[in-house]
Symmetry: C2
Subunit: 331 residues, 2 copies
DNA sequence: TTGAAAGCGCTACCAC
DNA sequence: GTGGTAGCGCTTTCAA
């Protein structure tokens, strides 16, 4: 930039303004500056710009599992909205580890990102992340996992309803011994569990504690949990799995045990990940519109950035949608 | 930081040095500074630090498709290596679009990332990206896709060998009409095609141009391409697919057409993505050790950052490994 | 062992 | 229209 000024015999200021199309700089000099900048392959230094502007045009996205295509789709949704506003996205993968997550949020804040979008891995009763977040002025939007009792912007589905919907579907398919592979103790995991219980009650089916088996969020844990479940008598004839990866693992377990899906055991997941349709037995699931979640969250955050975020929390609930495939069709 | 200085009645410098454990600051003041910093929840401002240090401790990762778990695993590998060196990773998703990719590289450079890892979406004959890259001093490592004739650090597999290995496996399974669903015209796509042709020659099988059908990189394109292939006579009895997503789409096409995998058509992919094992018919594939690619690339880049990158290009080839599952077992 | 000065590359605010 | 001055938050260099 200094080079350009020297070469053209104008001041550094003129160059700075010309480059940004600032109010009134004569067309002539503006053109000369731009041309010269091109020749010299001038590129603005965002670090310096950010320092003085107190604004990086960066937003941070913290998600628990990049390998889960549900979150990858969210990331795409976010990027899609941000791009035209010339914001960029920094992704962190917390690996479902609350401690890692806090460190990453910390780092993002130190990097002065303008805003945060977080799918939190915190267990439902831990508010550490939020006391951290509240120390800084960085606006943030929570997605997918809504911690109870924390006033914050949120975009996601109603997990209670999701759990109920999935479980009711199994009921309607004639299942009478319905089990649940439970996810992590996040808001999401607990909500889905509540929905499961509520559906059982509504259907007048008894609830058995042994039919609630803890898994984690991935297919490996789904496999193990399902194996435990299959060892029980009576054997469940329908299982609502925390999410699609867990359901995928569970399906493998059922098939490996020489049983049939859905005849012996019907399976339903949640998330409608991209490959659900391509599995051994195409997986019934609850769609959460992952792309839409990302987009809405990004929009909400951008609004907040503009209005300096003083208004009250927005809350966007996306309707869960049942997607019926072979894994639950017992007729 | 200024606050700390005031509160303690020492100079700003003392604080700066104390915080970083600089050579000699009396233990006493150091302790006082650290304690006070804690109380005030002081956090360093990386933007400012980066500006003066001319170093951001950020590395940029540009990949063509986050939804493809092959790349998601690479990202994890990179993060795993970077983390202990307190480097952080900025991910961009180029969506297989060369133009987008160049823009993203540009942005990353403007953000002064210390290094780049790129799985390029450029077609094999386009060197635009590299003239761009060479303008700046930012060290970079290419992964997965090696453009011919460009001296650069590279980590990936030998795609010619991969293609040959996959195709030979089909030959050994008794396939005689072997087709190829071709990927994008990137170095990877072309290499795999070459390997396919070479294997046919080695096996003494004739090569039919109609058996080479262009797809892209995703399952949707695999589905379409496979449908075209199935309309042909003779119908192929074995297909080497550019990658696993394409193979997944192809599998859907075959099954939707009422044919059997592998009896009527054997299928093999490449990448060994995480869910290959969970598909309708578990998919045979060529493993590329995605995690290892990410790790090696990150290590190579870090070495370069330390040595200010003046040495000659490193080239790390990872052995492709055949993974046989049901989709090719015809015995 | 501590502190003052200068500057990283850029922009806002005011004079000319 | 154009240009100087000051400063963003931090670090390196050198003097006290």
């Amino acid at each position: 930039m200094k080079d350009i000024a020297n070469r053209l015999g104008v001041s550094l200021m003129t160059v700075s303004k010309a480059l940004r199309g600032h109010s009134d700089i004569s067309e002539a000099t503006r053109a000369r500056v731009l041309e010269c900048a091109n020749e010299l392959h001038y590129r603005p230094n965002w670090v310096a710009r950010s320092l003085v502007l107190q604004r990086t045009n960066l937003i941070g996205l913290v998600i628990p599992d990049l390998m889960h295509s549900f979150f990858a789709e969210i990331a795409r949704g976010v990027a899609r909205v941000l791009e035209p506003h010339s914001y960029q996205m920094v992704i962190f993968n917390s690996d479902e580890n609350p401690q890692t997550e806090m460190t990453q949020v910390q780092m993002l804040v130190e990097r002065s990102v303008d805003g945060l979008i977080i799918a939190s891995a915190q267990s439902a009763d831990n508010h550490g992340l939020f006391t951290l977040l509240n120390r800084y002025h960085t606006p943030f939007v929570l997605i997918d996992r809504e911690p109870p009792g924390v006033p914050a912007h949120f975009v996601g589905v109603d997990d209670d309803e999701l759990g109920e919907m999935a479980t009711m579907h199994l009921v309607e398919q004639g299942c009478r011994h319905i089990a649940h592979l439970q996810g992590p103790p996040s808001a999401t995991g607990l909500g889905r569990l509540r929905g499961y219980k509520r559906a059982l009650k509504r259907a007048g089916l008894g609830q058995r504690d042994e039919f609630i088996v803890p898994a984690r969020h991935d297919d490996a844990s789904g496999y193990q949990a399902m194996m435990k479940l299959l060892a029980q008598r009576p054997r469940p004839d329908g299982v609502f799995c925390y999410n699609d990866p867990v359901a995928a693992g569970a399906m493998k377990a059922v098939l490996d045990s020489g049983l049939d899906v859905p005849r012996d055991v019907a399976l339903i997941g949640a998330g409608n990940v991209h490959y659900s349709d391509l599995m051994r037995v195409p997986l019934s699931t609850i769609d959460q519109s992952s792309g839409a979640i990302g987009e809405s969250a990004a929009k909400l955050l951008l609004e907040n950035l503009r209005s300096s975020g003083a208004e009250q929390p927005g809350r966007i609930l996306i309707e869960p949608k049942l997607v019926v495939r072979a894994s639950t069709q017992r007729s």
